[in-house]
């Protein structure tokens, strides 16, 4: 009994370095951010306590914040509906045996390793209304269609999403591939013997057996969707007229450009709370499974 207790203390001692790093770079900054979100502060001068004033102001008196919130929600929906579906589709195709499969896997994963800001630069040229690939493509086929893409507030958010999709499918695709390979061929064979077709097998056997993969992919995609920043900043900077403003870009503007550090951290805290809504059920779900 005593021996067991001693070894526990030893184990806790080994946790100290990791705990110090975790506390100093994650826990303390999070609570410090929460603390300064209760102040009116330009980042340099003295702080003025305003309680929940920054939060009240965001939700009642800040149309840009509400636009950013709406855009983030649209982005989450698009990510779940489009990114997940496309990456699952690619994973299913690339899970089949065919010549050059590895090359195609690398090919579709490749954009994932490019820095998001570089992705923004690439797509800026693709979307260029005069010399960009898309409009030139239409022109080459004699189609008289010209679109300003990222300058048009009606389509700019979706145009940015396409750029993000191009880059973003690699990661979930790899996770889905791993999930697909974990499905036992015996189970699929049994389903075939029972007379199930390909579609039925996929939805009734493969998908349920990949439940953990789905949970992981959905959670990581939602968190990534909440944090989306680089590609938006690089392509439109949140414009035109805030039409592509996201919570992360708005937080940055408030904090570093307008010197409203209290307001900026309030935006960050709202983001964290929204992400917690996803992460906490995710963790509890996976814990239950185990």
């Amino acid at each position: 009994m005593k021996k067991g207790k001693k070894s526990n203390f030893g184990a806790y001692a080994f946790l100290i370095p990791a705990a110090v790093i975790y506390l100093s770079v994650i826990v303390v900054p999070v609570f410090y951010s929460l603390f300064i979100s209760l102040f009116k502060w330009n980042g340099v001068s003295d702080r003025e306590f305003v309680g929940l004033g920054n939060y009240v102001n965001l939700f009642t008196n800040d149309p840009t914040f509400l636009i950013a919130l709406k855009n983030n929600l649209i982005w989450i929906v698009l990510t779940i509906c489009v990114t997940m579906t496309v990456s699952l589709g690619f994973a299913v195709i690339l899970n089949k045996q065919f010549r050059g499969r590895t090359v195609f896997r690398a090919f579709f994963y490749f954009p994932c390793v490019i820095a998001p800001i570089a992705v923004a630069i690439i797509w800026r040229w693709i979307y260029n209304p005069n010399i960009g690939f898309i409009n030139q493509f239409f022109k080459a086929f004699g189609i008289n269609y010209k679109q300003t893409w990222i300058s048009d507030p009606k389509v700019s958010l979706y145009a940015i999403f396409i750029a993000a999709l191009w880059q973003g499918i690699g990661q979930p695709m790899i996770l889905f591939l791993a999930g697909l390979q974990s499905v036992s061929p015996d189970v699929l064979e049994a389903a075939t013997i029972d007379g199930a077709g390909s579609v039925r097998k996929f939805f009734s056997v493969t998908c349920p057996l990949m439940k953990e993969t789905f949970v992981m992919v959905i959670a990581t995609l939602i968190v990534a969707a909440m944090k989306v920043y680089d590609v938006v900043q690089g392509l439109t900077g949140g414009g035109p007229n805030n039409s592509t403003q996201m919570l992360a870009t708005y937080m940055y503007s408030q904090t570093f450009q307008y010197n409203n550090v209290g307001m900026g951290t309030a935006v960050a805290c709202v983001m964290v709370l929204m992400m917690m809504v996803v992460i906490v059920p995710y963790i509890s779900f996976t814990a239950k499974e185990k």
């Binding site: 979307y127 300003t148 990222i150 300058s151 507030p153 900077g237 414009g239 035109p240 007229n241 450009q257």
Partner: protein
């Protein structure tokens, strides 16, 4: 054997101490500046460090908007470099208001800066009653135009607003985009809009509006924004200009797609960097009704408030080396010339510079809007530009929104 070991230990100790002494003797100073000047600054820093063993300068580079953000973050954590590039107006003022800059007033008096530097530049670097930076350039903006295109379309340099509009119409008719514009960060489009405001408001009202003594929600601003919308609808700006990168206008202007670009005198240097023939391009002051004033702004190197005497001397010594005649002659394309010194001239290959400075002295100048405005107010103007161009906002709403942002800023 023991003796040899003792000698070795003594020698090693001496070397270590010697190295430490050498390191500690050098005054180390850090310098943050724009990456557009990196090709000049890097060799200059290297040469300076070689020539001055007692000083070690370390430079870091940022893009135009990156340096603004990096400095603010550093100011928040009290980790500003020893010296950093900055603009005048509200951008430089932030560091003065928050006690982060070294007041160079006494140093300038003691070292005769008033006999060396132009009064205009020193004035623009004097914010909140203190000389808050080492003046590095005095910039004025004019309308660069492609001489070949103007000649081909039979256009003379416009001397009135009506002539300017007629020139735009003629250029459009001949298949050219009259004006280059790139609104990704808002400020490039703002250069055209502020000239329209200057045209409709006149000098006195415009100055009062920029200092917030007069409201922006007035008829002149509405007219200016309505004219801007008219130009957008007429196709006087390139397609998709609202999210175009300002660094790319040189491509459309240099290739002859756009006939005019609104730039400062540094543009001669950029044309040279891009191997374009400067003599093919001319510059004129935008012909606004009143006096065709040009927008202007200063650039400076701000020094950290906490500099020791040695560090201050090292910083000034480096600045003087950076802006010495030899370096300006060698890396002229990477400076905003002429230097803000009395009697300074532009390099011979930068043909438009002296003329622009001369015109600005004759016509007068006003502070460029994004330096006159704090960032959040400038962003309200940029949003109005975008929304009006896209038809999401009327000029009246745009003027009202700008004034609302000013009032919100003043209430902070």
């Amino acid at each position: 054997m023991m003796f040899k070991k003792l000698i070795a230990a003594a020698l090693t100790g001496t070397m270590v101490l010697g190295t430490a002494a050498t390191v500690s003797a050098a005054t180390e100073v850090t310098f943050w500046t724009l990456n557009t000047r990196q090709e000049a600054v890097e060799p200059i820093v290297e040469a300076f460090n070689e020539a001055n063993e007692d000083i070690k300068v370390t430079a870091a580079f940022y893009d135009t908007d990156g340096i603004k953000d990096a400095c603010k973050v550093a100011a928040s954590s009290d980790s500003l470099p020893h010296m950093w590039f900055n603009w005048g107006g509200s951008l430089g003022q932030f560091y003065v208001d928050n006690g982060k800059t070294y007041d160079l007033t006494d140093y300038a008096n003691e070292n005769g800066w008033h006999e060396t530097y132009s009064a205009g530049a020193l004035n623009l670097c004097t914010l909140g009653g203190q000389l808050c930076g080492y003046p590095t350039s005095y910039n004025v903006l004019g309308v660069y135009y492609n001489k070949r295109i103007f000649e081909e379309c039979g256009i003379e340099i416009p001397t009135s607003f009506e002539e300017f509009e007629a020139a735009c119409a003629a250029l459009k008719e001949n298949g050219y985009v009259p004006m280059a514009a790139a609104g990704l960060n808002g400020w490039h489009v703002m250069r055209w809009v502020e000239l329209l405001v200057e045209h409709y408001a006149g000098t006195e009202l415009h100055d009062k509006m920029n200092s917030f003594e007069e409201s922006w929600n007035n008829e002149a601003v509405v007219q200016a924004l309505a004219k801007y919308k008219e130009w957008v609808d007429a196709g006087y700006f390139p397609d998709g200009f609202l999210t175009a990168d300002p660094n790319d206008t040189i491509m459309s202007f240099g290739s002859g797609e756009c006939a005019m670009d609104l730039q400062g005198q540094w543009y001669d240097g950029q044309l040279l960097q891009n191997e374009l023939e400067v003599s093919n391009y001319g510059v004129f002051a935008f012909p606004s009704t009143d006096s065709s004033r040009m927008s202007a702004f200063a650039e400076m190197t701000q020094f950290n408030k906490n500099l020791s005497e040695e560090e201050l001397d090292a910083c000034v010594k480096f600045m003087e080396y950076y802006y010495c005649e030899e370096n300006v002659a060698e890396y002229g394309a990477y400076y905003n010339l002429p230097l803000p010194k009395d009697g300074a001239k532009a390099p011979e290959d930068q043909l438009n510079v002296d003329g622009m400075i001369e015109t600005s002295n004759t016509n007068g100048t006003f502070t460029i809007t994004d330096q006159a405005f704090p960032t959040e107010v400038a962003d309200a103007l940029f949003n109005a530009q975008d929304a009006i161009a896209n038809g999401e906002m009327t000029p009246e709403e745009g003027a009202a929104n700008i004034q609302t942002a000013i009032e919100a800023y003043q209430a902070k």
